[in-house]
């Protein structure tokens, strides 16, 4: 195992997302590559980090519960008829563009 100084492995751990997605500047890229060549624990972190992303991407898709859309139609109809309070505050009705642009 290499004699990493106090912050080397931590710094590598911090950079793994960008290392993986190819967005590291050349200097940092060389630093991470060089470190992974001589530090098995960091290779372990990186490989298992990659594995987590693979697991996430393979996670079972969401299954639609039976009758969901039908239930929603009813509930929304009920909700609409029960309520005359006017627009609610927290839904940010006017979003990121100037009025009149859409």
């Amino acid at each position: 195992m290499s004699d990493c100084n106090a912050s080397t492995c931590k710094r590598v751990a911090d950079l793994l997302l960008q290392f993986r997605d190819g967005s590291l500047p050349a200097e940092d890229l060389a630093f991470v590559r060089e470190h992974l060549h001589r530090c098995p624990p960091c290779v372990g972190i990186f490989d298992s980090y990659q594995e987590v992303i693979d697991v996430l991407q393979r996670l079972q898709p969401v299954r639609m519960p039976e009758g969901l859309m039908e239930r929603m139609r009813h509930k929304v109809a009920e909700g609409a008829s029960m309520d005359d309070e006017g627009p609610c505050e927290d839904a940010e009705p006017c979003s990121d563009e100037e009025p009149g642009e859409a």
């Binding site: 594995e51 639609m64 969901l68 839904a91």
Partner: protein, 192 residues
């Protein structure tokens, strides 16, 4: 996100559910980790959209707006029914030894029993996602599960690109740590 969506679909419950219902439920389900909570979040989201669609002046593709409302509603319900206390991710979720190397690292990516354990691993990951603080859970769900690109996901969460990546990275490292602990415990049980 597709852009063939006239705003009129936001005013008509039938069209709204037909066009966006599945995506709303999927996101809510990922965020809350159970069907009943996801249904509640979906119902609140639909009602809120219908109420506010008349004053919607955003982009011609309202998916970002819809996602935002869905995230808010799901967050609300997840908080109310909190099943696990959220972990703290203020620092990097990796332990280091006295010589500053990561400790207790098991590279489980090459385990021969990986496929046989896929079901258990999935359950562990779901639980670990559930215990992430809201913003971290949202980052993983949006980018790693729903495939929303960095820039769009950052915008949905009101974060800079760098801020979003930091959150996503810490969230992934927490999931990594949880799987690491899971495999360690599993192997210890096998040995005893």
């Amino acid at each position: 996100m597709s852009s063939d969506a006239p705003i009129s679909a936001l005013l008509d419950p039938e069209l709204l559910i037909e066009r966006y219902g599945e995506r709303i439920f999927r996101l809510a389900r990922r965020m809350t980790n159970n069907d009943a909570d996801a249904e509640d979040a979906m119902q609140n989201t639909l009602i809120k959209i219908l109420k506010n669609a008349g004053s919607y002046r955003g982009e011609s593709d309202p998916m970002g707006w819809i996602y935002r409302i869905t995230l808010n509603e799901a967050r609300e319900i997840h908080r109310k029914h909190k099943r696990r206390p959220a972990v703290s991710l203020d620092s990097l979720p990796i332990d280091f030894d006295e010589s500053n190397h990561p400790t207790g690292v098991h590279d489980f990516s090459r385990r021969p029993d990986k496929d046989a354990m896929a079901g258990e691993v999935d359950a562990q990951i779901r639980e670990a996602i559930d215990e992430l603080p809201d913003g971290y859970r949202e980052a993983v769900v949006l980018h790693d599960l729903e495939g929303v690109p960095y820039a769009e996901a950052a915008k949905l969460l009101d974060l800079s690109l760098g801020g979003f990546k930091t959150r996503l990275h810490r969230a992934r490292l927490h999931l990594r740590k949880r799987l690491d602990q899971f495999f360690t415990a599993h192997d210890a049980k096998d040995r005893s």
